[in-house]
């Protein structure tokens, strides 16, 4: 992970990279990644609820 990655484009111009990208896409599509179950329920909170929880900081 790197901040710079956020600012860079992904241009594939070399044949070796083009082939590797497509193989990766196909492999990932077929791949069965591990099934991850969250150990706690997750909810996203927005708006005034954020103030309710953190307003006293």
């Amino acid at each position: 992970m790197a901040t710079k990655s956020i600012l860079k484009n992904i241009d594939i111009r070399e044949r070796r990279m083009g082939r590797a990208l497509i193989l990766a896409l196909e492999k990932s599509e077929a791949k069965k990644g591990k099934q991850v179950e969250l150990s706690r329920i997750c909810r996203e909170i927005k708006g005034e609820k954020i103030k309710d929880i953190f307003g006293n900081i």
Binding site: A2, I6, R43, I45
Partner: protein, 203 residues
């Protein structure tokens, strides 16, 4: 507050203000990667305000207190594959994933970036969530966005560290390339390049 709570950093700034938000972010520590630590404390707010990348904070209840246990940052990216980089056979195969842009002679497809992802090692808060769970939260957020606007692929870059690559690989990511570190990145992370990985998000 029970369970995990996800908050968009921009929403937090809008409702709590920057000063209070900075206090919350100051309780974050990642000794494994200086860039991940620096980003949250010194760049995430500006990036969120400018819309360059959006950070999501993950909280959990710990001893009756809401504590920051991790975060991830997402950014819009488009992968561009120039026609000349593909054989005729591969050009056919890529049409399953990408659109052809005739003006620029390239195939394009959206691949949102997970730009940062880290647990908070401050005070042992990293024990409150697993890396798998944090990555799932990031991928689920991207899936939800893609359900609204389209897209199937998520992209990230990580250090060339076998433990990290195994972690992403076990979670369905596949390596396809490497990016050499820029001069100003050297020293912030291990090695001389970052490994590029992608994952096809199944509906």
């Amino acid at each position: 507050m029970t369970g995990y709570t996800l908050i968009n950093l921009r929403e937090m700034i809008e409702h709590l203000g920057e000063d209070k938000t900075k206090i919350i972010l100051s309780n974050f520590m990642c000794p494994l990667n200086k860039d991940v630590d620096d980003f949250l404390k010194s760049k995430s707010i500006e990036f969120s305000k400018q819309g360059i990348a959006i950070t999501y904070l993950v909280f959990a209840s710990n001893k009756n207190e809401n504590v920051l246990i991790g975060y991830f940052t997402l950014a819009t990216k488009i992968i561009m594959v120039y026609r000349t980089s593909l054989s005729n056979t591969l050009r056919k195969r890529i049409t399953k994933f990408a659109q052809y842009d005739n003006d620029f002679k390239r195939y394009v497809f959206p691949a949102p970036l997970i730009g940062q992802l880290s647990k908070n090692f401050f005070n042992g808060y990293d024990k409150l969530i697993s890396g798998d769970e944090l990555l799932k939260l990031a991928c689920d957020k991207i899936k939800a966005i893609q359900r609204e606007i389209g897209g199937r692929v998520v992209y990230l870059e990580c250090e060339d560290n076998p433990k990290l690559i195994n972690f992403y690989s076990a979670n369905g990511f596949v390596q396809f390339g490497k990016r050499k570190l820029d001069r100003d990145e050297v020293g912030l992370m291990q090695g001389e390049y970052l490994v590029q990985l992608l994952k096809y998000l199944k509906p």
